[in-house]
């Protein structure tokens, strides 16, 4: 695309989450509008992990937050179990959020440093959980154990006594205590060291199996996204470029933007010849005034006349591999 279209959507009754024509715009001082997300559609089956990947400012985090209506999207539809979330009252949405949980990028700032771990993890149960204190305690211990934190030692400690990796485990425990269906992970490992990153990625895979979770995994690191995702959607400047199973997408990227991202990814292999010709100074255009037609055309080496006049639509170029581009790579 950076274009539109819904050719890649699956039958509605097979999906757990279905997003259509999602638009999120923010008004900023001066009368301008930031077009953070401009009409994207995707769906997720129960038990699937969808990776959302793209540069900063492409709208991937905004999309993740729009799923739980934080804030409500400007237009478009978000369905969870066939129920339209955009039309729900704030009270009904509040109830629904127990099924849709989120973890954030910076694990240290997403926990209150001065609260005890057991209180942080038990907080959601104060409203939705069992009222029995000992039952609550048991659930906290179980979930802490499941995320690899020793409940005996950790329960009474304050959040600031833990390292980044442990804080992320505690955040995950808090998000899972109400047994959600969907976990939205917004850059959950980008603030962590490689060794912690591997631990958290393995943990998410294990928890996914154990608690039958559906994951939305938002990240800018392509290798991380490939590792954890079943399906990957590449975003650029508020639009979707390409959607495919992750192995297929990384082996045969069809959108020039996906190719650019993959070529930029540093490989831990000194024999790989580094492409020094990758255009050197191109920048993401402003989401206030995005380019006409295909939004990627200003950076695309293959752009032609049609790219500036007509927005490309999602098309299936191989089985289950969809791309929105006038000149897909073959």
């Amino acid at each position: 695309m950076a274009g539109s279209g819904k050719a890649h959507l699956r039958p509605e009754d097979e999906t757990l989450i279905r997003v259509e024509d999602l638009v999120v715009e923010y008004d900023i001082p001066g009368g301008d509008t930031v077009k953070a997300v401009s009409g994207i559609s995707f769906d997720i089956k129960a038990g699937e992990t969808l990776g959302l990947v793209g540069e900063s400012g492409c709208g991937k985090s905004t999309t993740g937050k729009a799923l739980i209506q934080l804030p409500k999207p400007s237009s478009g539809s978000v369905k969870h179990n066939l129920v339209e979330l955009t039309g729900l009252s704030s009270e009904a949405m509040r109830r629904r959020r127990t099924d849709l949980q989120m973890i954030f990028q910076d694990p240290i700032s997403s926990l209150n440093p001065l609260r005890k771990v057991e209180d942080i993890v038990a907080e959601p149960m104060k409203i939705w959980g069992p009222k029995d204190k000992s039952k609550q305690q048991e659930m906290v211990d179980n979930i802490l154990d499941a995320v690899g934190i020793d409940p005996e030692q950790a329960r009474g400690k304050l959040a600031h006594e833990f390292s980044g990796g442990q804080c992320q485990r505690i955040s995950i425990a808090r998000s899972l205590i109400l047994d959600p269906e969907v976990l939205i992970c917004d850059e959950p490992v980008s603030a962590l060291d490689v060794s912690m990153q591997a631990q958290i990625l393995n943990l998410l895979e294990d928890l996914k199996k154990k608690y039958h979770l559906t994951l939305v995994f938002i990240a800018h690191d392509l290798a991380v996204v490939k590792n954890i995702s079943d399906k990957v959607a590449v975003m650029y400047l508020g639009k979707l470029c390409e959607v495919a199973q992750s192995d297929e997408l990384y082996e045969n990227p069809a959108h020039p933007y996906s190719k650019l991202l993959l070529d930029s990814c540093p490989e831990p292999d000194p024999t790989v010849v580094i492409d020094q010709t990758v255009s050197d100074d191109d920048e993401l255009p402003s989401p206030i005034n995005p380019p006409s037609g295909c939004r990627f055309r200003t950076r695309c080496p293959f752009a032609t006349e049609i790219c500036s006049t007509e927005e490309p639509q999602m098309e299936e170029i191989r089985p289950n591999h969809y791309v929105a581009c006038h000149h897909p790579l073959t």
Binding site: V194, S195, H220
Partner: protein
Amino acid sequence: MNTTTAADNVAVDADNSTSPLLVVEDIHTSFMVPGGEVKAVRGVSFELNQGKTLGVVGESGSGKTVLARSVMRLNLGNNVITSGSAKFRGSNILDLRPKAMQKLWGNEIAMVFQDPMTALNPLVKVGRQVTEHVRHHLGISKKEARSLAIDLLNEVRIPEPENRLDSYPHELSGGMRQRICIAIALACEPTLLFADEPTTALDVTVQHQILNLLNREQETREMGMVLVTHDLGVVAGRTDETMVMYAGNVVEKSSTKELFEDMQHPYTEALFRSIPKTNERSHTRLTAIAGRPPDLIAPPSGCSFSPRCPYVQQKCREEEPPLIPVNNGSHFSACWFPVGTEENQEAFRKNVAAGLPQTLVIEETLTKSSEKEDGV
């Protein structure tokens, strides 16, 4: 204003061009904190020749940034203790008086920092920040400085440099700001450049551009460059030599090519195994490193990696392994049971039999992945 260059003031051995640009010997840096002495760097030595690049790799807390800052004399405060020597063109930087140091900073040795957002003064226009130190060191006029700044911005590929000079940093994107920081570092044509995680705060596409830029400038200017990063992928294609640090020590040092072909230290191997790679199938189980980096106030006895190492033996817990040459002599490693040797295999089998948790995890992942390969 002093118009002489640093070359006149610092004892520079100009004739001896074959000697290394920088020779660091046995640097120790500690921070005195209420809990005790944090031994951040514990005896690091290396050499860097003109026109060469050295990658320094390790997790947070491995001492890689403190090492760079120690050589740059940027660890401020009276709770810092640094010992050892860092000879830049023959003279020991660590002995220089602050006045002499000021003549080196920016002029002969420059640094690019991790966070381009905080490295620039938000209230000063870009143009002045790029040339402030040039005017100080070379004593050129405002007009000359402005045209130099335009040249520099052109060189780091900033579009419309004339207009950009009058921008404030907050008006530029992260990648553009890092380009400005690089322009500042290059302005006085330094011979030695430290780049401390220069791309960690940036997107992959921008990271690629900035690393290409640094490589190009380093080659055309024949600078010595020290590239500090936590990402093995960043050093792989871009450095001549790589040094892996753990808990303030160098655990392995080699030409980058050989390091990746023939990893000797279990920590290097563990770091490499723990990163997801784009050429692996999705859902490939990652081999995480068990445990956490050690407490640097009371580092473990023996090898500091021993509590997390899958090959650990009694000897490792008692005796600290020295950094010794392996194979051809330019590859160094500090391990009693180097990866790939018979002793290492033996240690692994013993630990599996003894049920050591960190070894079992590795064994399990290895068998699973080989099963998968057989299945395909």
